[in-house]
Amino acid sequence: MINYLIRRLLMLVPILIGITMVSFLILQLVPGDPALIILGVEAEAEDLEDLRHKLGLDKDIVTQYVIFFKNTVSGDLGESITTQNDVVAEIWPRFKNTVRLTVASTLLATIVGLLVGCIAAMKQNTATDYIAMVVVLIGISTPSFWSGLLLILLFSVHFEWFPPGGSMGFISLILPMVTLAAPGAAVIARMARSSMLEVFRQDYIRTARAKGQKESKVVFKHALRNALIPTVTVVGLQFGYLMGGAVLVETVFTWPGLGRLLVSAIFNRDYPVVQAGIMFFAVSFVFVNLIVDILYGYLDPRISYE
């Protein structure tokens, strides 16, 4: 197990290096002189030179990357052009808010998704199943930035139950959480349903039923555990996707997360923040996938670590 973990972590190294390369390339690929774009055409030549030096643009590309990489590894991601603050200090609280929102949404999505998926599978080919699957399809197809607006319209404007945005504790987390969870719940429900149906066809389920086991016990004790295995992968993947989707939901609900910071950084051409923000997202996505892989092996004893 330890060996497997170490091997998996080592396999991550090239991907992490790749992420720094992509992030590095963002500034390099900006057409024209980034310093001029950031400061505007009326900037003094001296300031331009200064910024170029600060961004390291006066060196050749390989040296630039080596410096960028070294700084990144040592946790120095430069300073924001708009606020002059340290980028990591700027990003960290925002990142925590995004993680909070994403974790809450993933939990909700998992609970709802598993429940809907199991019920649909147990009632396969009945009206319940069809309705559940149509709702699931609509859930996958609805843009979160629209469903969020509808929720605000209904629960903030009309009923005045929840605030339309901001970050005033748990109450303002509810609407964004539901909005973000919806497509995730739909995908998980779909996966849970199909893996439940797959498991229902197995011999050990027939055996359990044949020996007169109660149906609820068959479902929850025998079937669900085995159906969970493929579902876990989907949950993990969803966590990553929801993190990406958080950008939209944060904008709708003015949630002070990393996604919103990233959007405004792109508007302000604050490239150090853009580069760092994108790295934060990608690195957490990669680590979540790693955790899922490990969990997968833990849940399914048939997978060997050798």
Partner: protein
């Protein structure tokens, strides 16, 4: 000749299976309808989508304005109709870009193997480490917000999916006897890739392209919603939602219809994609 009849019967078979699937047919009809609307937009749109009318601002549904008017008195119904063409053009171009580049790279990696494949899989793995919308945002931060920017952003972020699928199919196909036979009769590599292996990639690629359209419509309109895509006053659906949300309390209609149309279009591509997968190969894992 014989080959032609084979292809026809395969198509007929797929169509027969697809047409039995009611959901897929609904999807197909919605897509066809939206394409038709987009093509006929200049003739069907009752108003100029950009024409402002300050005597009719934020009006509700009426006989004159079926979906009401927006904050500048523009007819929402006309803007939705014209927006269909914009969304479809962006999404088709982006998916086409991802498809062409992705298939070429995936084909080369899978066919030649070794170092080329190593590089291809490495780059694909890196790009897949970014959630789709974020990769698109990274690209927009380079190109700046514009129609071309969105197409490039969403197109490039679709490449890894197509690479991975093509590479996978090529890897399993190239070991088969018919490829060996083609080599034995002296066909060159390009011919083997295009005339022998590519046809076997078509079924999964069709499904992936259709399902990808759904994702691309969502990402592209999402970018415009964030203000990073198509810019106002262009009547793009996501951009319309962004403009409308400031008037959520006073004129909720502004935020209703553009979202509804995005949802229907995405739903249609998902329905058709699922249907195609079942019709072409139910065992396909996608």
């Amino acid at each position: 000749m014989n080959n032609d009849t084979q292809i026809t019967s395969q198509l007929t078979l797929t169509w027969r299976r697809l047409s039995r699937n009611k959901m897929a047919l609904i999807g197909l009809i919605i897509i066809a309808f939206i394409i038709l609307v987009a093509v006929l937009a200049p003739y069907v749109a009752p108003y100029d989508p950009l024409k402002q009318d300050f005597r009719a601002m934020r009006k509700s549904i009426s006989a004159a304005h079926w979906f009401g008017t927006d904050q500048l008195g523009r007819d929402i119904f006309s803007r939705i109709i014209v927006g269909a063409g914009i969304t479809l053009r962006i999404s088709f171009s982006a998916v086409f870009l991802g498809l062409i580049v992705g298939v070429c790279i995936g084909m080369l990696g899978g066919y030649y193997g070794n170092k080329i494949d190593l590089v291809v899989s490495y780059i694909t793995d890196i790009l897949l480490a970014f959630p789709g919308l974020l990769l698109a945002m990274a690209i927009v931060s380079i190109t700046g917000p514009s129609v071309t920017g969105v197409v490039l952003a969403v197109g490039l972020s679709s490449i890894p999916q197509f690479v991975r699928m093509t590479r996978g199919v090529v890897l399993s196909e190239k070991e088969k006897d018919y490829v060996m036979a083609a080599r034995a009769i002296g066909e060159n590599s390009l011919n083997i890739m295009l005339r022998y292996i590519l046809p076997n990639c078509l079924a999964p690629l069709t499904v992936l392209t259709t399902l990808r359209m759904a994702v691309v419509v969502l990402i592209a309109s999402g970018l415009s919603f964030l203000g990073l895509g198509v810019q106002p006053p262009t009547p793009e659906w996501g951009a319309m939602l962004n403009e409308g949300r400031s008037y959520l309390q006073t004129a909720p209609l502004l935020s209703l219809f553009p979202g509804l149309t995005i949802m229907f279009l995405v739903l249609a591509f998902n329905l058709l994609g699922d249907g195609l997968r079942d019709a072409l190969d139910p065992r396909m894992k996608l």
